[in-house]
Symmetry: C2
Subunit: 325 residues, 2 copies
């Protein structure tokens, strides 16, 4: 196939190099493709006229839309969340969209375990006390036996659930369909969210950002959480009303928050998320390993989807634009 | 028996109350003791003339030494580390010393898992970037497969090893005798420390502070750690040369440190540990649960040791002043 790989720039952190491609292609027995690499709009314009497959990040594709790809049949996104492509009506018609779901579990597993333990230990408060040079012990119960509610039961949510379960929390997963899931102690419908929030010690957001989930955790819902509850966001910043979250942290109603995603990213220098007490921000690193490992895993997912599609099947990671994931 | 319980003050965080005593004594079937409670030196002086057993924290006992207890036969410390009693020559002669080893594992397990993950994720650097309002992602490998070296194979060290193993690290335990230990992948003699340090991604200090371990991690040994290694201290601040540690963090030679113990405690307001980059300080909270849970567990350990002693045996938690633990 004729494949074009468009990188955001030559210095972007996850730039996909010819060396990485050739190593992955050799491992997969897929060395007979014609591959081009682009780093700017000119290279993209030249390549998209011929390419049958485009590989790029959602934000890179989003920045180039709309475009025509007369021979284009499949676009593979190097991230799992494709919200940066919205509105999907801009996508070239008739082109399969495939994401790289499946490479983030190991990292999110560790991040979720860390974030839950940090909230239970009140690390954000200790970090603030440290800046004041102040020794302010709080002797608190272990996390074992507490209750985690995880919104989203895909790769991220399931990894967070395995992390919570490893630490001895009870886990409730919220999903759109009432299907059981081995990684969760129980599954509830997302429509039951309001009933589950009051029974939550730690809320983990791990679902895609879609029109159905944008602003899902609004002020009213955040106020349904018990006094002192903690919030972890590894999904997308737009899932939660950040202002309401900051108000509830300011007031001491919530115990703490660990946000790996914000809206916008990065937040402007005067944004409240930088300074709200008991709120720790990390710069969207909860799901991505180091670039070499990440790119190798991403290309492995790509080739697996390519094989399924070439064999006449549906690529396992095909995105349904109607659902948005 | 005639038992005196000396609290540091009526407002100390772990004050042992008559209600807690009576509940624990009822659970243990030990309701026929004569018990007194003291909060100040006068109460202690009056009680110690008659007491056969003294229950108090090591620092409380240390602050009262030397004293004579004509009928005293056993002292039970409500902490595990008894370094605050040093020099042991001040202890009343012929009195058994018993600590409450065994109640800290669940908490240290969680703290060690958290600290290892925080160091691998570079949380101290993100916290500093947050204070600057700066979004500075680092995409780093997962912790699974990395190497933890744990000094001390007692309750704390074993709990830290179980936490590291749960996260997929390989674990090396250092102890004074070459006996295997199920919670570690391998055991090395503490005399082999210099050979193990260069093969360490994360060093966890979890041993007692004794004349043999004071300053164990001096500058020379800290410099044996690989570039970017992380250090966790849940033992005692005096185990490590804090100045050397801060120098190596300042220079970027070490990747980060999480210190739950320092020397002194608390550090004075102008101490470097408050401000050194990539160093997180927590106020000696890694091993102690909330006071109600902690005191109930402590008294359970006390009664178990009392029973063993009354039956003519050696209390399992008897401290050997020669070893210092």
């Amino acid at each position: 196939m004729r494949i074009h790989i468009q990188n955001r720039s030559a210095s972007a952190p996850f730039v996909l190099t010819p060396a990485q491609w050739h190593a992955a292609a050799a491992r997969a027995g897929e060395t007979d493709h014609e591959v081009s690499f682009g780093f700017d709009t000119d290279a993209f314009t030249a390549a998209i006229a011929e390419a049958e497959i485009l590989i790029a990040s959602p934000s890179t594709i989003g920045s180039l839309l709309p475009f025509a790809g007369p021979r284009l049949r499949l676009m593979f996104t190097t991230a799992a969340g494709v919200d940066a492509l919205r509105p999907f009506e801009r996508l070239p018609p008739g082109v399969l969209l495939v994401n790289n779901r499946g490479v983030h579990g190991a990292k999110v597993f560790e991040y979720a375990a860390m974030a839950l333990l940090m909230l239970n230990t009140r690390i954000p408060a200790y970090a603030a006390a440290q800046r004041r040079g102040s020794w302010e012990p709080q002797f608190l119960p272990v996390i074992r036996g507490r209750r985690a509610t995880i919104i989203g039961t895909g790769d991220l949510g399931a990894a967070a659930a395995r992390a919570a379960r490893m630490l001895g929390l009870s886990t409730t997963g919220l999903r759109t369909r009432a299907l059981p899931h081995d990684d969760f102690d129980r599954i509830r419908l997302i429509a039951e969210l309001d009933a589950v929030l009051p029974e939550t010690d730690f809320l983990v957001l791990a679902c895609p950002l879609t029109p159905a989930t944008a602003g899902l955790l609004d002020r009213r819902r955040l106020e349904l959480l018990p006094q002192g509850a903690g919030v972890v966001n590894v999904g997308r910043g737009g899932l939660i009303d950040q202002d309401a979250l900051c108000d509830l942290l300011d007031a001491g109603r919530l115990g703490g928050a660990v946000l790996d995603v914000t809206t916008p990213e990065p937040p402007p220098p005067d944004h409240r998320v930088w300074t709200t007490p008991n709120l720790l921000v990390t710069p969207h690193v909860s799901a991505d390993e180091d670039p070499a490992t990440y790119n190798a895993a991403t290309l492995e997912v790509f080739f697996a989807n390519l094989r399924a599609w070439r064999d006449g099947g549906m690529p396992p990671n095909q995105v349904d634009p109607g659902r948005g994931y």
